[in-house]
């Protein structure tokens, strides 16, 4: 099977030849290429070339066109802070007062240079891999984006106490998110990863999510013209798993803190699982530890398909040694061939 066949079979809740592996490599590509992070993301060609090289090197079953979360903030006119050894981050929030919200207009995709760079990288990659490898585009959910737009504390105040302004901001963000997701699909992305950390009960209680972000997700995902995977970026997902299923997402990125057996049982036949290796802890792993973690995860989550092995945050940290990534893939090749029995 090629990567596309392997992934599509797994997502159909069937068993492919082996467990698919998604190494979600974003700024890690700059490290691999020996190019400073800011410069790396300034040229779509750099990103595309690096993604192709890393796919070969790490036997990656996906191409990941995620540049950095703050690329969306950049398109709204916000600040991005680049560092030498980590993901570019959003700077000072650009919404300083609630009164500003009514004056915000969703950025036009065609007018945004940072977004155009992502689209160009996507197009280059699509021309190169065709339908053999899934290309995963990303969006920040309209519900979680305000953490960067206005800061977490102000946003929680908005979420709990200012319904009118919250609804208005969701309308703006939803329009942008749908356009941005569909532009990536048109450029060649196979599916969209919908990052929604705020949906996790780690961050807000489920009842509040159902009143707010869940409705946002249902409205938004229904307008995205392709498959979506919802990722809670290390937050637990088990208590909202059925809610995420109801949004129409085909995949959920689950946490290292989720109960794997329970989530596997609940997800069976309804939604596929993506996860859940601890990317931060990976920095400390050697080959032995890596092999042990990967074998355990395969035993607990891979039976019957419906599973893609990955990290639990949606981005491999710069500090993770390449030997760990290589060992993950090697272990999957050795122990991840189907049929897999739980007790193997």
């Amino acid at each position: 099977m090629n990567s596309m066949e392997r992934v599509m079979t797994a997502l159909s809740h069937k068993e492919p030849d082996r467990v698919p592996v998604f190494h979600l490599l974003s700024h890690y590509g700059a490290k691999e290429s020996g190019i400073p992070i800011r410069e790396y993301f300034s040229k779509p060609q750099y990103v595309a070339e690096s993604q192709l090289r890393m796919r070969e090197k790490y036997s990656n079953d996906c191409i990941y066109t995620f540049f950095y979360a703050a690329v969306e903030i950049e398109s709204f006119g916000g600040e991005v802070v680049f560092i030498q050894d980590g993901p570019p981050n959003s700077g000072e929030p650009f919404i300083k007062s609630l009164g500003q919200i009514k004056n915000i207009t969703p950025p036009k995709i065609n007018d945004s240079k940072p977004l155009q760079r992502v689209l160009e990288a996507t197009s280059i990659l699509k021309r190169s891999v065709g339908d053999e490898v899934p290309i995963i585009g990303t969006v920040m959910s309209p519900f979680s984006l305000p953490i960067m737009q206005m800061g977490f504390e102000k946003y929680l105040d908005l979420l709990y106490f200012r319904k009118d302004e919250f609804d208005l901001l969701m309308k703006i963000n939803e329009e942008f998110c749908v356009s941005w997701a569909n532009a990536q699909l048109e450029a060649g992305a196979t599916a969209i990863c919908y990052f929604d950390p705020l949906a996790s009960p780690t961050i807000i209680e489920r009842s509040k999510y159902l009143e707010t972000g869940h409705k946002t997700a249902q409205r938004t995902i229904s307008q995205i013209k392709g498959a979506t995977a919802t990722h809670l970026a290390s937050g637990i997902s088990l208590p909202v798993l059925d809610d995420i299923v109801a949004t129409g997402s085909a995949v959920i990125g689950f946490s290292g803190k989720d109960d794997i057996k329970a989530i596997k049982k609940l997800a069976s036949g309804k939604i596929s699982l993506l996860g859940n290796l601890n990317g931060i802890d990976m920095v400390n792993w050697d080959k032995k530890k890596t092999g042990k973690e990967v074998r355990k995860l395969i035993r607990e989550a891979a039976v019957g398909g419906g599973f893609i092995l990955s990290d639990n945050h949606g981005e491999i940290p710069w500090q993770v040694p390449e030997d760990v990534l290589l060992e993950i893939s090697e272990t999957v090749k050795e122990y991840g061939s189907y049929p897999i029995r739980a007790e193997d």
Partner: protein
């Protein structure tokens, strides 16, 4: 008579989790009316915040509930400090900062919990470099420095902060917190921090132990 043993901590916790400021105020006012003892109010707020912090640790409660509860307690204690004719504790001299990041929720939560526990502390702000934090710490002669981080590169930079503090003659104890330290439980030791402040009440306990003799 109200004692630390019969404080209505569970009722107060329920009011906080429902973001019911009115009920929370009623409870704290009733304690104050009965004995006017500030220490009892501290026991009440810290007792409830500790339970809420533990609820988050074990996945029953959300971070937003921890934040909202902390802010309500901070506001209430601020009202009762003058009513009880007391003042915030200014020793040890403390400060809190976010290293390399503008996401300040974690800092705000710990700040609120400490204020709710009657501590005064400097808020150095967020988006600061290691050098800026060192400079502020030296200038203010800080004894306990609380550093919040969101991403791994920032967490690793704590080592530079500690190193530069020592080079400049500061013996400030550095207590760290944030996602990277939660995901790698040994990270705080690798960056030479004094302790890992898993949540606001845990930080308060560490500070309590320090002030009892170790500092």
């Amino acid at each position: 008579m109200v004692t630390a043993l019969n404080l209505p901590i569970e009722d107060f916790e329920a009011a906080l989790l429902q973001i019911d400021r009115i009920r929370a105020t009623e409870i704290i006012e009733s304690i104050f009316a009965k004995n006017g003892n500030f220490e009892m109010l501290e026991h009440l707020t810290m007792g409830a915040l500790e339970r809420i912090g533990l609820g988050w640790e074990d996945g029953r409660l959300s971070l937003s509930q921890v934040y909202m509860s902390g802010v309500i307690c901070e506001d209430l204690i601020e009202q009762y400090v003058p009513k009880c004719q007391t003042s915030y504790k200014t020793k040890p001299k403390m400060a809190i900062a976010v290293l390399q990041d503008h996401h300040a929720l974690g800092k705000r939560i710990v700040y609120s919990v400490l204020r709710a526990g009657g501590y005064d502390l400097f808020d150095f702000g967020q988006g600061l470099s290691a050098d800026e934090i060192v400079e502020k710490t030296i200038n203010e002669d800080i004894e306990i420095l609380l550093i919040s981080t969101l991403m791994l590169p920032a967490a690793l930079k704590v080592k530079n902060v500690v190193e530069n503090l020592r080079k400049k003659g500061s013996s400030a104890k550095v207590i760290v917190g944030g996602a990277p330290f939660r995901l790698d439980e040994g990270l705080w030791q690798k960056v030479d921090a004094y302790a890992d402040g898993k949540n606001g009440t845990e930080v308060t306990k560490i500070i309590g132990r320090l002030t009892e003799g170790e500092l």
